[in-house]
């Protein structure tokens, strides 16, 4: 295997990629839900609208864990702790696939005319010892769940229809209880920052799914005030 004539350092490559704005580190997102009894109708509509209609959508069965890294600010109260969240996801139906480590920034809802939620997002494939790595790094597991559902694609957009399951007492992926009587529907696209035209692409597609499902920007702060 021939190597580069003059290898550029990885940090220099990353810096130049960041400057040229080619790293897809922004997620444009819309979410909604559909009750189980109506899920099949939505499934068929998505099958018709999305790519690869003949082969059918991919199914997935993932286990996701959310970790947090907290450092207390000197002299600060517990509320002033800086917190950094990381998610680890693995495919239960394909144990040979790499695990995925994901960083998600704070979601920005923006103005009323901003069609989608915007959040920074870094997806990193890694080896299965990532949980041990994060524990030694100082992270603590916050929560975990299992997601089972369907994955559709339309161009650069990704649509998932999935059911969330709570991990059973035995903590094994086989003992699952569904958390809701509905499917979570997510429409997202990963792109470099500043490509706001893609948000309109998502909005147009979301319109085509009405009235089966209403995909909209979810305000997490309002959700937290209910709990």
């Amino acid at each position: 295997m021939a190597s580069n004539q003059n290898p550029i350092s990885a940090i220099d490559m990353l810096t130049s990629a960041l400057r040229s704005n080619i790293i897809p580190n922004q997620e444009y997102l819309l979410q909604g839900s559909v009750i189980d009894s109506s899920a099949e109708v939505l499934h068929n509509r998505l099958r018709g609208l999305c790519d690869a209609a003949e082969t059918g959508p991919e199914t997935f069965h993932d286990h996701e864990m959310c970790f947090s890294l907290k450092a207390s600010s000197p002299g600060g109260t517990p509320q002033q702790q800086q917190s950094f969240l990381l998610r680890v996801r693995r495919a239960l139906d394909h144990p040979e696939y790499p695990w995925q480590l994901r960083y998600l920034g704070q979601p920005e809802l923006g103005e009323k005319n901003q069609p989608t939620v915007l959040r920074s997002c870094i997806d990193i494939a890694c080896t299965p010892n990532v949980v041990e790595f994060l524990s030694e790094l100082g992270c603590r597991i916050e929560f975990e769940y299992v997601l089972k559902g369907y994955l559709f694609r339309k161009g650069r957009m990704k649509v998932t229809m999935s059911k969330i399951f709570r991990m059973g007492q035995a903590k094994s992926p086989d003992s699952l209880e569904a958390m809701t009587g509905s499917y979570l529907v997510e429409l997202s696209l990963l792109a470099p920052s500043g490509q706001d035209a893609v948000a309109d692409e998502i909005k147009v597609f979301a319109e085509q799914l009405r009235p089966l499902v209403h995909l909209e920007k979810i305000d997490y702060r309002r959700l937290q005030s209910y709990s």
């Binding site: 295997m1 021939a2 190597s3 580069n4 004539q5 003059n6 290898p7 350092s9 990885a10 940090i11 490559m13 990353l14 960041l18 790293i23 580190n25 890294l69 450092a71 207390s72 600010s73 000197p74 800086q82 950094f84 480590l101 960083y103 870094i122 997806d123 990193i124 494939a125 890694c126 080896t127 010892n129 990532v130 041990e132 790595f133 030694e136 790094l137 100082g138």
Partner: protein, 208 residues
């Protein structure tokens, strides 16, 4: 995938790093080695901030031989365990985002860089190790690509290495290889050896 062995080559009195590389280059090419570009292995270390508790270090290494990967070696707080994570290039971006928790000390960034030769099933890399502007020594990497089991090929590797490095190559394998003599080795084992060598270079003032 192959067995990677690192060998420190002491710089003789009165000679400079580039002169030693020239001498070794002539020896490798006379053994049939063909120059095929250059290589670089670098290491940046991040240390945890005090508010995170016991001090932990994350060493981020990159190897031009595996350009799509980043090796993150985490030294556990207890000091007796290292967890080696292999991830995509974007892991570098994640470490930058973690700057409130793990901070890089710029002056400890260390790299080994130089010409790369192919000699049949062997890959030979003659690295000049530098830390910032300071030259620290010569580190030679030899990889025997045809076999991943040290027990089956150590003698062949040693004979090949002694052919151009001379007596500085010991007859017993390095401790790292001895501890894994019967195991299948891969790129992470080369990286672990680089980290051991880089840590030794960092502790030495002047040329090793």
């Amino acid at each position: 995938m192959g067995v990677i062995v690192l060998q420190l080559f002491a710089v003789p009195e009165g000679k400079s790093g580039p002169q030693v590389i020239d001498i070794l280059t002539k020896r490798v090419t006379s053994l049939g080695g063909v120059l095929s570009g250059s290589f670089m292995v670098d290491c940046e270390t991040y240390t945890s901030v005090a508010s995170l508790g016991a001090t932990r270090s994350v060493h981020l290494l990159h190897n031009s031989e595996t350009p799509a990967s980043v090796f993150a070696l985490l030294e556990a707080a207890s000091g007796n365990k290292t967890v080696a994570l292999v991830a995509d290039n974007l892991f570098d971006l994640l470490m930058l985002k973690l700057s409130n928790f793990y901070q890089a000390k710029k002056q400890t960034k260390i790299e080994s860089r130089g010409p790369r030769f192919e000699a049949g099933d062997f890959l030979v890399k003659l690295g000049s190790v530098t830390m910032g502007p300071a030259f620290k020594g010569i580190l030679v990497e030899v990889e025997y690509q045809a076999c991943s089991l040290p027990a089956a090929c150590w003698d062949l590797i040693r004979e090949f290495m002694q052919g151009f490095l001379g007596g500085c190559v010991p007859s017993t394998p390095p401790q790292y290889i001895q501890n894994r003599f019967g195991d299948m080795l891969g790129p992470i084992d080369g990286i672990n050896q680089y980290l051991e060598q880089f840590n030794a270079f960092r502790k030495t003032t002047g040329i090793r």
